[in-house]
């Protein structure tokens, strides 16, 4: 029984997804990218195979995507994360409605993608030069507030009332602004919420560049932060689809593409 893999090597985390012939997600894993991401990706892949009781030989096709896609030499094919994300989101979002707009926040980038009914990318926008409003920013905030990254959502929810406005879009300047807010007696809850709103504002601006249609699918690691998700909903003024597999959507899309390319090639052969 053949399986198909998608490996999404991001700047912060490596995500791997396996699908079967029916393109059903059968296993997935995430691990930090670290400095040696090629080795880390190989090891994570091995671990995932062991846990699912599979052999490497059972994986018929591997598609690499993400920032490290070209450096992962064990892949059969490399594809940009925008295409992979579109395919994954269309499939994962299907139970919730028709996905037409995707917002993705990653470790170092944020993207907005508009797709058609077949998951083809119609238009997309991406941050080119600056990593403000990405996962890195959230990590920095958590470090400054001495709380875990996973706790950010909790802190946000505990807040009642309006958060302060964080004006700086640059992560470096925002850091000093946050320290200033804490010094002026703002609570951690208020600061965290303020940060979420500033990221949401920035991301929604990006999304407006591609046009926001119908259901909006929100993915990437930070999408699991429900504080940020709340801020995004308010800034977008509409509901969001945030699936459980938000972080591995792109890897899942890459795995589906593996299956499709393999099928096309087998037909041709």
């Amino acid at each position: 029984m053949n399986h198909f893999a998608g490996i999404d090597i991001g700047s912060t985390a490596i995500k791997i997804a396996l699908v079967d012939r029916d393109e059903k997600l059968v296993a997935s894993t995430t691990c930090p990218s670290g400095g040696q991401f090629h080795r880390n990706a190989q090891e994570a892949f091995q671990r995932l195979l062991q846990e699912s009781g599979m052999e490497r030989g059972q994986i018929a096709f591997v598609t690499a995507t993400g920032y490290g896609r070209k450096l992962y030499r064990d892949a059969d094919e490399a594809i940009s994360e925008i295409t992979a994300n579109a395919v994954g989101a269309l499939r994962a979002g299907a139970p919730y409605g028709t996905v037409r707009t995707i917002i993705n926040i990653g470790g170092q980038d944020s993207k907005a993608i508009r797709i058609d009914g077949d998951g083809n990318v119609v238009q997309f926008a991406m941050n080119d030069k600056c990593a403000a409003g990405t996962g890195r920013f959230l990590e920095m905030v958590a470090r400054n507030l001495e709380i875990d990254l996973e706790e950010l959502g909790e802190y946000h929810v505990r807040l009642d009332g309006a958060p302060p406005t964080i004006n700086s879009t640059c992560a470096v300047f925002a850091e000093s602004e946050i320290i200033g807010l804490l010094a002026r007696g703002y609570s951690k809850e208020e600061v965290v919420a303020g940060v979420h709103y500033s990221i949401a504002r920035r991301t929604v601006r990006l999304a407006r560049r591609v046009g926001i249609e119908e259901q909006v699918y929100f993915d990437g690691g930070p999408a699991l932060n429900h504080g940020l998700a709340t801020a995004m909903r308010e800034e977008l003024m509409r509901d969001l689809i945030i699936p459980d597999i938000a972080q591995i959507t792109t890897a899942y899309g890459a795995a589906i593409l593996s299956r499709e390319v393999w099928a096309a090639e087998s037909e041709g052969a």
Binding site: Y67, I79, I82, T83, N120, F124
Partner: protein
Amino acid sequence: MSAAPQGGRRAAVLAQQIRESAQALATLEREFPDNPAAMDYFYKLFHRVYCEGGRAQPEGTLVGTTCVQVPDEIVRAAGGVPVRLCSGSHAFDLAGADFMPAKSCSLVKATLGLLQDERPAWLDSLDRVVNLTTCDQKKKAGQMMEELGCQVHHLEFPPSKDSEHARAFWRASVRDFVRAAERMTGGRVTRASLRESILAVSRAQAAYRRLQRLRAESPALLLGKDAFLVTNAYFFDDLERWTGAVDALVAELEARREAGISAALRRAPRILFTGSPPVFPNLKIPVLVEQAGGVIVADETCSANRMLNDAVSVDEWNLYDMVDAVADRYLKPCTCPIFTSNGDRLRRLLDLARTHAVDGVVYQAFAGCQVYEMEHHSVSRALAEAGLPCLYVETDYSPDDVGQLSTRVEAFIESLRSRRRRRQ
């Protein structure tokens, strides 16, 4: 700031410029397999001029031009040697930042940088510049060139082109320019010399069109990165020799076509490139497009198609009519975004897309190049109506954004592939 003396800084700028040129050439030559043999002439030419400071031009007074709409024929007829100064060098761009606001266009800054800094040896004698009054940044750059000790002729270009007033105004400008060119070079524009230069330039244009015609074929016979290099060479190469080299390339491509050799895969998405001009060594975006598996088959830019496509048509081969004919060629068909309205540019894009069976458009705008940024709106709308996807890339000469841009460009090429699959 280091305490290095001026000379030290200048030498460093030049060294940086040589390094980036060598790197760009290495990319163009080595990262793409199976380049046509006739391209060697161009690779070597760029190496000689950009990395060794050698002169490609024949003897004669160098006259720098800062715009594709400066009538070359007049300069040549006066016995001058036109050199287009529009630079694509990041090193010069940084050097030119002393003159212009940080947010201004890389190309204008690089041109100023080239003029102020340790120039490539062959440009040492250049102190005469023709600057056209096109966009605001170029207009003001002309003034700064005077500060740099250049003798600048400000050639007045009208801000719109459709009315007869504009045509008459520009003709008067060009007539003045004939005298100015004579003063710059000490030569004379005569009936015979202008006729010769019109004919020589038109032979070059005819060769370019033959090449462009081949690019309309499928599968693609020539990569866009090479095509841009060929047209870029026109900036500074000896005219007759350039024409011969293009014809040699055309002959080789025709032979390769017979042998069934193509430059890209049969189904590689075909791209039309438009917007701010790619000028060597800044072929960042074209290279990204072709590394991602696309192939640039046509362009609407002033470093290539707009420079060479339009031809002079003379009715009476006397001086009075030839000068006007040259003037008309540089105004009426010009699709520069500085003009008030630009239906011509849209039509040109759609025509190129149709004749070259284009799958998508890549629109480059240099950060700070307001007119191209502003025209993106109307262009993308017209393209969308024609069902042509368009990738808009705002960038400059720095290599900082290549990583992010490569993802965007690849995604765009992938989306074109899937569109094509769907249509089949």
